[in-house]
């Protein structure tokens, strides 16, 4: 099953993004720091990486993004940079574009997240129709 990876150092964001994506039919793996990225990139069936750029524990920011692209096996992996550092996005817009990164500035809602993810994945990557789960029936 195709895997979407999320790396963010804020546990609440990580949990919520995992919930939103899982509810939409994706299989999700998570990491909390820059050191986790290497292991995640080696993950089988990885089809998308959603990455914060301000991470503890190692190379971060543009250096991390460049390092990912330098690896032949991840040179073409779709990557979504989700960050609250809008200055970073603004000042590195050219570099991010040339490296082929998409961006999702915080704050974002679940619809924006799902739209972004869907736009980065070929239709076949999502096994189930990628629509949100219906709300649970409270009367049951």
């Amino acid at each position: 099953m195709p895997v979407v990876a999320v790396v963010d150092d804020v546990p609440e964001i990580l949990t919520l993004m995992e919930e939103v994506l899982t509810d939409a039919g994706y299989r999700v793996v998570t990491g909390t720091n820059a050191g986790d990225v290497g292991g995640i990139l080696a993950c089988q069936n990885l089809v998308l990486l959603i990455l914060d750029v301000r991470l503890p524990g190692g190379v971060t920011g543009l250096a991390l993004l460049r390092a990912i692209r330098e690896k032949p096996e991840t040179a073409n992996l779709p990557i979504l940079v989700a960050t609250a550092d809008l200055t970073f996005l603004r000042e590195n817009a050219g570099a991010l574009k040339s490296l082929g990164y998409e961006t999702l500035p915080k704050p974002f809602d679940s619809d924006a997240l799902l739209d972004c993810v869907a736009s980065l994945l070929p239709v076949a990557e999502c096994e189930e129709p990628c629509s949100p789960l219906p709300p649970s029936d409270q009367s049951a």
């Binding site: 964001i13 919520l16 919930e19 939103v20 509810d23 609250a84 550092d85 970073f88 704050p107 649970s136």
Partner: protein, 107 residues
């Protein structure tokens, strides 16, 4: 390029906390939104989220204005320093000596 400028930590944190709130309300509504009470409380949270977004935009505008003012002040200072240095040069001549000394007109 790697000398990345950083935004004020508090502003980045505000956006992060707002993301948590937005995603949490979204999940609450997606999973349990049929209950009237939950919908009513989510509506309060939605209103607060919109207000916080507007507040953040205001803070960003204030920061931008303050940075622009600082830049304009620095440009003005540099201009003044350069004018002062030029006028000193004129007073002293290119070699740093008074013009009459420079041109051998000492008496």
């Amino acid at each position: 390029m790697d000398g990345e400028q950083r935004e004020p930590e508090s502003l980045v944190n505000m956006r992060t906390h707002l993301t948590v709130l937005t995603l949490a309300v979204g999940q609450l509504r997606r999973r349990h939104g049929k209950t009237d009470d939950i919908e009513r409380l989510c509506a309060f949270a939605d209103a607060a989220i919109q207000q916080l977004k507007a507040d953040i935009t205001d803070v960003e505008a204030m920061l931008f204005q303050s940075e622009s003012r600082e830049q304009s002040h620095m440009t003005h200072l540099r201009l003044r320093q350069s004018v002062t240095a030029d006028s000193r040069k004129q007073e002293t001549g290119p070699l740093g000596l008074p013009p009459d000394v420079q041109h051998g007109r000492t008496s």
